[in-house]
Structure formats: C-alpha cells, structure tokens
C-alpha cells in the first residue's frame, strides 16, 4: 500500500513551548489511521500543519509523495486534505447552502442563490445528508451540523479527511451513524485520520494507530496487534492499569431524593434516591433527559412538578445557592460555560462556594483562601503554578480538576457530576473518578451523569433513562452491550 499522507520530522514552536519536536506520521492509502495522545501531546498542532493552516518550523509534509503546496494556496490544500475540526466551522446565521459553499458561492460576479441551493441539495444528496439546504445552520442539531461539515470537507474533492474528535459532541446513536458513514467512506477509498480520546472508538473504527507523547512520535502499530493497556502505556509513558472501581457498602441514610419530578419536554415522573456512600449513575442518549434531570437536582433548572430533598430537607426549586447550603456540590456539564471563570485564579475558582466562610462581612481573607486552595490543589493533584494562576491557562484535565475542587471544597454530602471526564486524558480521567469515589468513601452520596460507560463503572447502580423516563435500574456488573441496549430502547 502506498503512503497517502506523510509528515516528516516536523518541528513547531510557539514561543517557549515546543508543540511538535521531530514528529512524524505516515498514513497509508485508504486506511483509517488513529492519532492518539494525552492533552498537549501535539495532536492539534499536527492537524493545523497537515491542513496547511500553520507552517512547520522544520520538516515537511507530503501528499502522495509530492511536496505540500504553498501555505497561501488554500484551494490546493483543500483538494488534498479536508478537515472536520474540533471546533465547529459552521456559521450559524447563514443557511446550510451558503455554509457548504462558503467563499465559493459563485465563480465570479453575482451570486445566483437559486443555483447555489440546487448545488447544495445535490451535494447533500451525494453524501446522503438529510438536511434542508435552506435551513439556517444554527437551527440544525450538532449531528446535522457535523454531517454538513463532512459533506463540505469532501466536496473539494480531497481523498484524505481528518476528523478531530468528531464524537466529542455526539451521543451514542449519532456516533454509531457517524461510524457507519466512515466505514462507507473507507469502502470508497477515502483515507482518514481519526483523533479521539476514546480508545474503544479507535479499536472500533481504525486499522492503524499512531501515538504521540510530549510533542513526539512514540509508536505506530496496527490496531489489531496493540492491546489496550499497551496503548495506554504508550500514551502515558508508563504502565497504567485500567481504572479499578472500588467496592463499598452504601449506608442507609438518604442524602438526595427526587420525587415525582416532571419537566415538560425533558423528563416525566422521575423518582430517584441516593444513599450516603452510594454512587448512582444516570445513563441514556442525549434526548433521554438525563442532563436536564441532573440540572434540576442541583437547582440549575426548575421542575414543573415534584420535589428535590437534600439530606431530608426540601430545597427551593431552581435555587442553586439553596441546594449548595443544603450540602450539595456539583460539576456542571460544560466546564467552559458553567464550570469556571477563566480569567480568575485557581484559588478563587476553587473557593467560590465557601467565600462566605473565608472571612467576615463579605470580605474574603486572601491568606485563608490561599491556604484552602493549596489544600485542594494538593488533594486533587492539580498541575498549576499555584493558587494565583488563572484557570484559563490550565489544560483541560486540570481545569476540570478545579471545577471538581469547587464542587468538593465544602465537603458536600451530595455530589452531582455531569460528564465529569469529557475532553480529559486517561490519567486525569482516573484522578477525577478517584475523587468522586473518595468523596463517597467520606460518606457522601453521588450522582454520576455520563455518556461514557467507563465513568459509569464506578456506580453502585445505573438508572437508564429513555425519552425522559427511568426505564431500568441496573445493578453493578453490567456489560457494555447490556447497558447500551437499554439506552437505545432495544430492550426494556
């Protein structure tokens, strides 16, 4: 098999940091090639170099044996490589048709909107994307937007496509549909580079895997010949066993109770109870209402009917401070939006909930805050220069640890975490799950809402939701297949 895409000895520096240090990758024609590595391993930089958005300081990129085109020649690049970036490159205020043909709406002169729509429809049909060309892109679902991006990427005629964490924003069934699409593209001879934090996906969809660590190429192997723990070891540089969840016996005291909870369009008539020393999982597809339910428990949303009680006391609905006073700590779904204030320091972010305890009359004592923050940094092993560093400067995993610190700083008796390990690497993932289990061992009860089956393994039981209802209470010891079947509503 011939080499379709090759990067040789690529070096890229940004100021004092070296993002890529002699990195290389060779992708054979027609294969789906995974690129994995921890946060900061240089994956994103390699993507921007392979797509011609950035110039390497040294080294070269070759497509089918030929040198890459000049950086300014965007059209030449787009004929060689297409990319679905991690960040959406859809413009919400424009129609699907215009997004598909952005900056090439016409050859020259006046744009013929009717013809543009027809071309868009044709393109969408070619790639079997069931989306209205005239709809505003902002009105599409995340999955539909991504399909539009894939169709656009392929419409330039590139036979090599990079998918940078495409599953991060998708739920289970959508991921399956994406994989089916990727398989059919592969059958048509399209070469793909696939980036993901989910190693099981690599095993599912890729033939070859390249591991980057600390800005360098570590290994390239056939997926079939590389056991899971060896892959993790290559990524982390040390042998790390898969996370072992701990055994425990839940107590008798009810710490969190939801009764008859209904919120129109999200969930219907849900009862839920969590004991101290117990971890309860909430699983289901994106439309199952699991996130909406969790957000109700913490007071971010108000249920239409039903009550939430923390430690036996009813909490005023839709009141986050009241829930926190009652002893609840939570990790929100999207850490960038709800989790932290990027410009404020690690210390401030971590101690928001207890600011009132750190001083009197609304004054926060800096030294007491610092002491508390240092304690949290130590206990969660947050890699930071110190409590004064802005959270915005930290890597994804460490920023998430700060969000955990905020949730745990007041020793909550109830901990609700939503997608706790989204976008963090293997080691950080283990530390975060460990933090949940530590809190539970100290006597708290926890609710873990996650799209990741691995996160749910720490749960003593998993409530599976389907279309807004809890359809099954699955005890520990489930297999992936069982749980997914219930989540998809295949089995009741």
């Amino acid at each position: 098999m011939s080499i379709h895409v090759e990067a040789r000895n690529v070096v890229k520096r940004f100021g004092p940091t070296t993002a890529l240090n002699g990195a290389e990758i060779a992708i054979a024609e027609g294969e789906t090639h995974a690129l994995v590595g921890r946060n900061g391993a240089g994956k994103s930089t390699l993507v921007s170099i392979l797509t011609g958005l950035q110039r390497p300081d040294a080294g070269e990129v070759r497509f089918s044996g030929e040198a890459a085109p000049a950086l300014a020649d965007r059209d030449a690049w787009r004929q060689r490589v297409a990319c679905v970036y991690q960040k959406s490159t859809i413009i919400p205020a424009l129609t699907v048709a215009e997004n598909l043909f952005l900056n090439r709406q016409s050859d020259k002169g006046r744009i013929n909107w009717r013809a543009l729509r027809a071309r868009a429809r044709e393109l969408l049909d070619t790639y079997e994307v069931d989306v209205d060309a005239q709809a505003l892109a902002g009105d599409l679902s995340v999955e539909q937007r991504q399909l539009v991006e894939i169709a656009r990427a392929l419409s330039f005629g590139a036979r090599f496509i990079i998918l940078d964490e495409p599953t991060a924003r998708l739920d289970g069934p959508a991921i399956e549909r994406l994989f089916a699409r990727m398989r059919s593209l592969r059958e048509q001879g399209v070469t793909m580079m696939y980036i993901s934090h989910h190693l099981d996906e690599v095993y599912q969809i890729c033939q070859t895997v390249t591991v980057f660590r600390d800005a360098r190429h570590v290994t390239t192997r056939a997926v079939a010949d590389l056991p899971h723990d060896e892959l993790v070891a290559a990524m982390t540089g040390e042998a790390t066993a898969a996370y072992e969840s701990r055994v425990r016996t839940p107590g008798d005291r009810l710490v969190l109770e939801g009764t008859g909870l209904t919120l129109a369009g999200r969930y219907t008539d849900v009862d839920l109870s969590v004991r101290s020393g117990e971890v309860v999982g909430l699983a289901g597809s994106a439309s199952s209402g699991k996130v909406g339910l969790a957000e109700t428990l913490v007071g971010l949303r108000r249920a239409d009917t039903g009550t939430v009680a923390v430690n036996g006391a009813r909490v005023r609905p839709g009141d986050v401070p009241a829930a926190m006073r009652a002893g609840l700590g939570f990790v929100p779904e999207d850490r960038h939006h709800e989790g932290f204030v990027p410009l404020l320091s690690v210390g401030e972010n971590a101690t928001f909930p207890i600011a009132r305890k750190l001083g009197r009359f609304g004054v926060v004592s800096p030294s007491r805050r610092r002491a508390k923050a240092e304690e949290m940094i130590e206990s969660l092993d947050i890699k930071t220069e110190g409590p004064d560093q802005p959270v915005g400067d930290l890597s994804g995993g460490n920023a998430q640890k700060v969000v955990f610190a905020r949730a745990l700083v007041d020793d909550p008796t109830v901990l609700v975490v939503i997608n706790p390990t989204a976008g963090v690497d293997v080691k950080a993932k283990q530390a975060l799950l460990g933090a949940v289990e530590d809190a539970v061992e100290r006597g708290a009860g926890a609710v873990v809402v996650s799209d990741e089956l691995d996160d749910l393994r720490i749960c003593d039981r998993v409530l599976v939701m389907f279309h807004g209802r809890v359809v099954k209470d699955v005890p520990r010891g489930w297999t992936d297949h069982e749980l997914v079947a219930v989540m998809e509503g295949i089995e009741d």
Partner: protein, 329 residues
C-alpha cells in the same frame, strides 16, 4: 425526508425579517398624516429624506462594520473633520486655511482621502495590533474631533469652495442630489452584501472568524477594506452635510453615532456580528427620520426628543428579544 418539512416555513419567514420595520414605517406615515396635514406632502417627505441622507451613509458604513463583527465609533468625528481638513488645504489663510492652497477642484477627493486614511488607521490598530475595536475607535473619536477643533480653534469654516457645496445642495430630477447618492449607495450595499462573494465574506467573518479563515477568506484584507470604506462613506456624509448647511461647524457630526447605532440595531443588525442586512438598516434610518420629523412637526422640544429616541431603541430591542427568543449579550 422528514427533516425537510420542518424548517421550511421558518426559512421563508427569515427572508422577511428585513422587512419587520415596514409596518412601523406605514404606521408612522398614518400617524404623521393624522397629526399634521403638512406631514404627507411631497415637500415634507423630501425634506425628511434630505435630512437623513448624510446620517444614512454612516448607518450604511456602521452596518457593514457591525456585520463583519467589528465596531467603529469614530465615524461621527470623520463627518466634520474630513471635509474641514480638505477645505483648509484649499482655502487661503484668511478664510481659515492652512496656506497650502491646493486647487479647489481637489476638495472632494481630498476629503474622501482623509476619511479613507482615518479608516485605514483604525483598521491598522485593530487588525494589525489586535486592539479592541471599541476602545480604539473611542480614542479615535476624540482624536479626530480634536483634529477639527485644533486647526480651526473652534471657529466655523464659512468660505468654502463651490465644489464641496454642490453635492449637498444640488437637485437632480426633482430630488436632492444627496438623496440620489444615498439611495444609489444603499442599492449598491444591498446588492453587494446580498449577492457578491466579498459581501458574503463579511457575514462569514462576523459569524465565525475561524470558519471564515478556514474557508480561505482573506479576513484581514476584507476587514481593512471595510474600515477604509467606512471612513470614506463618513467623509462623503460630511461633504453632503457641508453642502446642506453651507458651512462646517465645529460640531458637525458630533453625537450622530448614537443615532447611527440606534438605526442599525433597530433595523436588525446585530452588535455581535454576522447578522442583519443593509435593507434592514435602511428601514431603521427611515423610522428614526420619520419619528424625528413628526416630533418636530407637533412641536416637541428638541431638548425632550432624546428621551423618545432612547425609548424607541429600548422598545425595538425588546421586540427583537421577543421575536428572536434568544438572550442578548
């Protein structure tokens, strides 16, 4: 194809979003006719158009800049300063000139050039050095106005070359030339932003900068162009205003920028970039112009009028919040 059916009516509605102010304009015409018999005369309506011609060019410029996701407050200072500097380069020292004495026919090109230069400088600071457009143009608003006050020492320029007076005072085919000019430029703007790749690039840049860059749009170049065009249009607005008034006062253009933003925003141009149309902005100008005219006709004191303008902006904002359904930043 189930998904095809759902969004279709919405897309059709979206096409008329530009025209949401048309009922308001009709309503204002009816109310105006009711309140004052002179309102609906050709003379009065022409008067409204002529008064709005100059400021409408600023709205055109600001709408394009806002759609591209940027901001320019300094346009209002250019309205006075660009024609004033051009005039001072032409007229003799006795008339308040700088004693350079360039030929009088050059005064309009000179004014446009000054406007373009101010726009280019704004662009330079904002694009090259990545400074905040709001603060840069706020500073430039003050500086550029100072460049009018400094050399004139606060005096009004009366003795102007004929060429600069012509556009703002001439009549073409029964309508003021200024109205024709503004009308043609708006037509060009509507066409350009609706049907040219370059115009659509403004929406792409304002909507998602990274996506625009990834699509191969030369973002910096387009943004420079928008700022330069904005400055040039502001200078042209200044030329029209100078012709209408026959002199360049020390405050020419001062305070316009609030009305400009009001017109653009009630016309549906988003302050966050990427949204709105030139046609919408035009309807915004007309609403403001009609309200102004009606208030003057029924004898509302000029000192009280700002209260009403401010209220109009708030009401428009609330309506768009209800219609759009999305929280505003």
């Amino acid at each position: 194809m189930t998904t095809l059916t759902a969004p279709a009516p919405r897309a059709r509605l979206a096409r008329f979003r530009d025209l949401t102010l048309v009922p308001v304009i009709v309503l204002l015409l009816v109310v105006g006719a009711f309140l004052d018999p002179t309102f609906l005369t050709a003379g009065n309506l022409t008067n409204v158009l002529q008064q709005q011609a100059a400021i409408s060019l600023l709205v055109l410029a600001e709408a394009m800049i806002l759609i591209a996701g940027k901001f320019d407050l300094s346009l209002e200072s250019t309205v006075g300063t660009a024609p004033a500097i051009a005039v001072m380069l032409v007229v003799p020292v006795t008339a308040g000139g700088l004693g350079i004495g360039l030929p009088g026919t050059l005064v309009i090109p000179l004014a446009l050039l000054v406007g373009a230069a101010i726009g280019a400088f704004n662009g330079f600071l904002i694009i090259r050095f990545q400074l905040s457009a709001f603060i840069v143009t706020l500073a430039m608003l003050i500086i550029v106005h100072g460049l009018l006050q400094g050399p004139t020492e606060g005096k009004t320029l009366f003795q102007l070359p004929d060429s600069i007076l012509y556009l703002g005072s001439a009549m073409w085919l029964g309508l003021p030339a200024a109205v024709w000019i503004a009308g043609l430029l708006f037509a060009a703007g509507i066409f350009g932003l609706g049907y040219l790749r370059l115009g659509r690039a403004l929406y792409a840049i304002g909507g998602n900068l990274d996506a625009a860059r990834a699509a191969g749009i030369r973002v910096d170049r387009v943004l420079y162009g928008v700022f330069i065009l904005g400055g040039t249009l502001a200078a042209l607005a200044g030329i029209l205003e100078t012709g209408r008034l026959g002199a360049i006062g020390n405050n020419q253009g001062v305070g316009w920028i609030f009305m400009v933003f009001a017109a653009a925003v009630i016309g549906g141009v988003s302050m966050d970039g990427g949204k709105g149309t030139i046609l919408g902005a035009l309807t915004g100008v007309l609403v403001i112009g009609l309200v102004q005219n009606i208030l003057t006709l029924i004898g509302v004191s000029g000192f009280w009028q700002p209260v009403i303008y401010g209220s109009i902006i708030l009401v428009a904002l609330m309506i768009s919040r209800i219609a759009g359904g999305k929280a505003q930043d």
